[in-house]
């Protein structure tokens, strides 16, 4: 009698255990598909990024410009009414996460970055004919120190180091005989150590036998300021910067 009872309880427990994750799975599946109401009226075969990629924002905030992608068909003409889903690593959220393309074939979403500083690989996906089409893009989230660096760089560095002019600020890049490196030039800047970058900022270009057009900032910026600027340079770098040192994880 005792053994039979326990077998029955065991079965009940097992059944309950099995049902619980099943329902959870179902619930999750249900909530992961908010686009159930969206009925695609057309399908495209290609995805193109229109705008909103490669932005730089602070961690946890919504990027200034929305991410806009366009769905095209085989002929390269825009497809309205196609379903586009946006995906990203955990922490990133999209508003909306799935949307139908508008009359000009474009899908727009507001991107909120995760709370960890770094690069966020995002993707847009549209169910094409036969197989789905994806498009990858990248956004950069700056932590506190990197953002302080970006604010300082904006004031002291970007007028020369950023070749792009904007309506409110004209770049000085073209006026310089020796061209400064843009902060995204990973191929060059990744090879310069933190110590060397610090001395160039501290003492000016001639400190490392480089151009005197780069003035010294050692009496203007504090040590944490310079550290912040370097953190910002490393965050922008393309290809990404790999910090030197032992690889700790064994794996």
């Amino acid at each position: 009698m005792n053994t039979r009872l326990s077998a029955q309880t065991k079965f009940r427990v097992l059944a309950a255990l099995a049902i619980l994750p099943l329902t959870m799975l179902l619930c999750c599946k249900h909530s992961a598909l908010p686009n159930a109401a969206l009925k695609a009226t057309a399908q495209g075969t290609a995805l193109v990024e229109s705008s909103g990629g490669h932005q730089v924002g602070a961690t946890g905030t919504t990027l200034t410009d929305p991410l806009v992608v366009q769905v095209n068909d085989d002929q390269g003409t825009a497809v309205p009414g196609a379903l586009v889903e946006f995906h990203g690593p955990s922490g990133v959220s999209f508003d909306p996460a799935a949307v139908l393309t508008d009359s000009s074939g474009q899908a727009t979403t507001a991107v909120t970055l995760g709370t960890i500083a770094g690069r966020y690989q995002l993707s847009a996906m549209t169910p094409g004919k036969g197989k789905s089409v994806t498009l990858d893009t990248l956004e950069i989230a700056l932590g506190y120190e990197q953002r302080v660096g970006s604010i300082l760089a904006d004031k002291y560095c970007s007028r020369c180091h950023d070749p792009e002019s904007s309506p409110v600020r004209v770049s000085n890049y073209d006026n310089l005989e020796v061209k400064p490196h843009a902060f995204s030039e990973g191929n060059t800047l990744n090879k310069i150590s933190d110590a060397d970058l610090t001395s160039i900022i501290l003492h000016g270009g001639p400190a490392l036998n480089r151009s005197a057009l780069m003035p010294p900032y050692g009496n203007t910026l504090s040590a944490p300021d310079i550290k912040a600027i370097i953190a910002y340079i490393r965050a922008l770098s393309d290809p990404p910067y790999q910090p030197p040192g032992t690889v700790y994880a064994r794996q």
Binding site: T61, I116, I151
Partner: protein, 684 residues
Amino acid sequence: MQPIRKYLSSVWQALFGDPVRAFGVVSLILLLALAIAPAKEHFSQWHSYQRKYLGLIRDRGDAISLRRRFEPGIHQIWLPELGVVDRCTTCHLGLKEASLSDVTQQPFRKHPVVPHSLDAFGCVICHGGQGQATTVVEAHHSERAGEEPILPTRYIESGCGQCHQNSLPGTPQLNLGRTMLSRYGCVHCHAVTRPDGSKVAATDHPPSLVHIADKTTREWLFSWLKDPQAYAASTTMPNFKLSDADASDISAYLVNSSSPKAGDTAADAKPAANADPAAGPSLYGESFCASCHSVQNAAGNLVGGDLGPELTRIGNKAKPEWLAAWLQNPRVYDSTTPMPHYRFAPQQIATLVAFLQTKSDSDYGSGVHLDAATPQQIAHGRKLIVELGCAACHEINGVQKPENFAPDLSAIGSKPLAQIVFLPGMEHSLPTYIAAKIRQPRAFGSSVKMPQFTLSAAQTDALTTALLALTARGRSMPDNLRVAAVPETNYQPAGPAGKLITELACFSCHRFNGRGGEMAPDLSWEGSSVQRQWLTNFLHNPNTLRPSLIRRMPRFNLSDSDNKELTDYILTVYQSPAIDADLVPAATNSADVVEHGRQLFYSKYACQSCHIIDTKTDKGYIGPTLTQVGSRLTAGWLYAWLKNPQALRPSTTEPNQNLSDEDAHALTAFLMSLKGSGGQGAKR
């Protein structure tokens, strides 16, 4: 009943039948009871995180040193003077481990670099949440009375704002939010007192409506009240979502109560000079109206400054007679306006009025026809004005400015969740509530008086951040940890020159002795900086020193006597004690020294990357052009500037090059030798 009793008695017999067995059973129960506490600890959440952490560091190269720094058990940061008891570090074990910077798994991530030490401030001061809790849910998501959920990262800057009342370089969002509190008129209705007792003051300039009928029509007022953003997309006036009848009644009261101002109406206008339509755009451009006023271009983008109102449809609004009177002298209509009193000639005024009248939209307000208002409607309009609190911002005849019209927000960041009525389906947290209230105040009920503001998502986040910074904790912080806001001084220059400085609204753009705007250079020490002849010429015809600047100083058409008054005052009063006024004039420097200075300029210090000396070869245009700097600046100022630019203007981008005295002297001699062509001086 019988079998149960029999069963129980058999159990009793089996357990406590004889003393030895009873002793064994009691011991077992005692042992189990004693095991409850260690078992509870063993199976607690924080313990499992500590085990996970040990597992995480086991395979790392620096496992030994990481394990040495690991302490088992509950950790606590206890700071009695701050009221901090934070046990967060019990689970967040990697916060201070620099080598864990590659770990993204929570709760083991390294804390990002911040200016404060965790041991000195703890965690909840910035992040919110329950510091004493030792479970994830209780620490992060508690909604119980008096407790607060953890702050979302997007509002994290509000933590800084509890102690730092000044503007910090690393908190742009908080700074923007605080500016908006003052600029969007929030503080006209809501009082906001900082922890040190000072009040947040408004920086906007809501126009007085006591002479409004001189300026515009009732029809325009009606359209404006219905939808301010339809007239000017950039206006900070919110939308009160008025019905047609209400908007009509309010406009009726405003026009009806308006008292005429001498000089504003067509009847007392001077015989108008002939306008020159072709000269309009160039006069508007030359007067640098765009430095303060913006206009929408064909693409729908606003071009121009935001100090004054947008002028895209000014022709729909302003009556020409009023516009002429305003351009003649804005201070007659509004004695505190930030608009300078340009000394325009009658012909120029006529030209500008005609030009501004063309800035209109024939579709705007075309369908508005208002019947003459009855006394009841006018009285109803007044009632609405009182109810909606219009007089909190605008001066209105016959309506008193209400005191404490809306709730005080000085501690809104600590508002208990129990006091908040959330909308159905809304996340129960303070940041969500504040953001929703800013975004759509009227969604919280039809009795809510707060109007609808037109803000971008980033602006809403910024304003929410600034409001969340107004916490009870911020008010109870020890004084030595509080950083006070830098208050605007009430400096007022004296005498006839002081009157001129007020009339020309120099304070709107320039800063003097801690008061004034940020758009143009601080002039507190201008008298030590520039030469008399240059200043006289500049005030007559300001031409920019920086070719790449868009916003520029306008020409005020000063008379010679006014110019002399102002020049004398600036040169006498705005002197820095740090500048040596008697520094050897450049003329006595030998040609050798000048040549040495030139070499230093071009080779050692490469100043040409930012400055132009020879317009043919030099191209840098970050700093001002120096082609005639020798006739502009004084030798004393130049020398002091070269030695330490930040000492004279803390916000300048020119780096301090730590020059030796000899180098600074040679450069000063060289720069003072650059007198320019003299063309500018000869003109006048």
